[in-house]
């Protein structure tokens, strides 16, 4: 009962200075929205990555020569196939292509022979030499669609014409935006890859418990190889996105600090009017702890409202507006940058973290000022 009434008074006292308090709530909510957007964005990307890449090959075996990724002999694949527990071994062919015309980088990839029709592809994967399937980003910068020609310059500086037989649908941009899928023979010829060499080798393993043992055996048998397991891929992405959000949070924490200084300033710069008010309250029978509770409720009201508003704004910004404000920051120099159609993976943990990042600084910066206000001498009311 008592607490409710003090809350009531706190609200009425906030309302009396509504413009000032609304300004504070707005700034606070904005700061929270920025931090929450970063967290939501990276967490959604991280979760999506971990979900998608769960289908990645259990092991990718590269050859490393002089510290650099080199082409791997196909014969390695045969040796890997003999290790118990290995289900399938596929050499992979892929590489990068710089398109001077639009100054973008593409990733060129071979089409594996056996596959069912893909839902995410309009048209079909290249089935014959001279065909290609492209990501929607490539289609957009080159302004081409199914049936058009894609001309790329090969390793002998010859322009090669590929007919576009498929374009990936844009929901799959996160994976396919910069892809150009070619027939294997085309790709080998295009890059001039020597025979019996592949870019790397993917290995399928039946029992996940055995992956590390197989990786160790590969490393032992072929010391210049570098097996990358799926869990390592997943961990890389988890680490990348944690790093990214941590980094951006640290940068934007400056905004939070600025806000806390504002809050501190507002709370310490207690006006004569407020001082008189608290003096009256104490004179008519409010205890110091009641005033402290009053200040606690004021802080709660401000921070709770701002937190919720900030979270709502961040949610709308990230998941309905595609994080438009943040994308320029994370885009970097990429010419082909997917528009985010993020899937709202959020759990209470994210909200807890945002609360933890934003509320304690505010509370800490107002506790001493509100105590200062609370110890106002009741006698001041007598003296005027």
């Amino acid at each position: 009962m008592r607490h409710l009434k003090i809350l009531e008074y706190a609200l009425s006292s906030l309302w009396r200075r509504k413009y000032k308090n609304m300004a504070i709530i707005l700034v606070y909510a904005f700061t929270i929205a920025v931090l929450a957007s970063i967290l939501f964005l990276t967490h959604a990307l991280k979760t999506e990555a971990s979900f998608l890449l769960a289908e990645a090959p259990e092991l990718v075996v590269q050859r490393v020569s002089a510290g650099r990724h080199e082409l791997i002999p196909l014969e390695y694949g045969d040796r890997i196939r003999k290790i118990p527990g290995v289900a399938e071994v596929h050499p992979r062919f892929w590489g990068y292509y710089y398109d001077a015309l639009v100054e973008a980088n593409y990733t060129l990839l071979e089409a594996n022979a056996d596959h069912t029709p893909l839902e995410m592809l309009d048209g079909h994967l290249p089935a014959a030499p001279g065909e290609c399937a492209i990501g929607s980003g490539v289609a957009a910068v080159r302004k081409i669609g199914p049936g058009d020609d894609l001309i790329l310059v090969d390793s002998t500086n010859m322009g090669i014409v590929f007919e576009v037989t498929g374009v990936f649908r844009s929901p799959s941009d996160l994976l396919t935006n910069d892809l150009v899928i070619l027939d294997r023979a085309d790709l080998i010829e295009f890059f001039g890859t020597p025979p019996d060499l592949a870019t790397d080798i993917s290995v399928r393993v039946n029992n996940p418990k055995e992956i590390n043992t197989i990786a160790e055996k590969i490393k032992r048998q072929m010391p210049d190889s570098r097996p990358i397991s799926r869990s390592e891929i997943l961990r890389t992405y988890a680490a990348v996105f944690n790093w990214r959000s941590g980094m951006m949070l640290s940068v934007f924490a400056a905004a939070l600090v600025a806000f806390c200084i504002l809050a501190w300033d507002k709370a310490t710069g207690i006006s004569a009017e407020e001082k008189r008010e608290i003096g009256i309250l104490k004179a008519v029978g409010w205890e110091t702890s009641d005033i402290l509770e009053l200040k606690f409720w004021e802080g709660m009201a401000v921070s709770l409202t701002s937190l919720l508003l900030g979270l709502l704004a961040a949610y709308v910004h990230v998941f309905f507006l595609g994080a438009t404000v943040l994308t320029p920051v994370i885009k970097g120099w990429s010419v082909l940058f997917p528009t985010f159609r993020l899937i709202p993976f959020i759990d209470p943990y994210q909200i807890l973290v945002i609360g933890f990042l934003t509320v304690p600084p505010y509370v800490a910066s107002t506790v001493i000022p509100s105590w200062k206000a609370a110890i106002t001498d009741p006698e001041t009311a007598m003296r005027g």
Partner: protein, 230 residues
Amino acid sequence: MECLIQTENVSKTYNARRPDEFRALEDISLRIGQGEVVVLKGPSGSGKTTLLSLIGCMSRPTAGSILVAGKNVAKLPERFLTRTRQRTFGFIFQQFNLLRDITVMENVLLPLYPRETRIGEMQERGRTLLVQLGIESKQHSKVYQLSGGEQQRVAIARALINDPEIVIADEPTAHLDSKLSVDLLGILDNINRMGKTILIATHDPLVYEHPLITRTISMRDGRIEGVSTP
């Protein structure tokens, strides 16, 4: 007559042991019985307000003891001082000390916020008081919309809301013209009839010459100069 307030050699020194040391009260001993209407009179700076705030449990004396309803409050921690003040005293301040931006009703109910009274009961009590004081129609107005006399009545209602035994009024007529002052004295008379003890600090002759007063204490420079009973 039962003794309600008893002070024994009370002194109050501000800024002790500093160059700006100031002795506001020295060696005050007095007794006030239940149902009395006592006036403290004296020029400004004579220590009236300080004595009122000591008796009203707003601050602690530097020396001496103060018994309020048999309890020594001179050495109580602030928390218990406040509790005693909450239950025993109602204050009418010189400048009314109302909060300008909230309604009359909210102002009247201020002392009850930190107590365990239900909201309905609070409002009931507030309304009764406002009816008694004849400003019921203004209960939803903001304080700054009221005249001086109405503000004074709001302040009185606030002082009475916790049903105190003792009402303390500091220069209650300072901002009122003589007609309103007479009205106020009428109200105080009513309060006294309800059995409440009243303690008034004033230098307004209209007040200390009123028949209501049972005792007048004159003060000067922090000491009691004389006591007179009409």
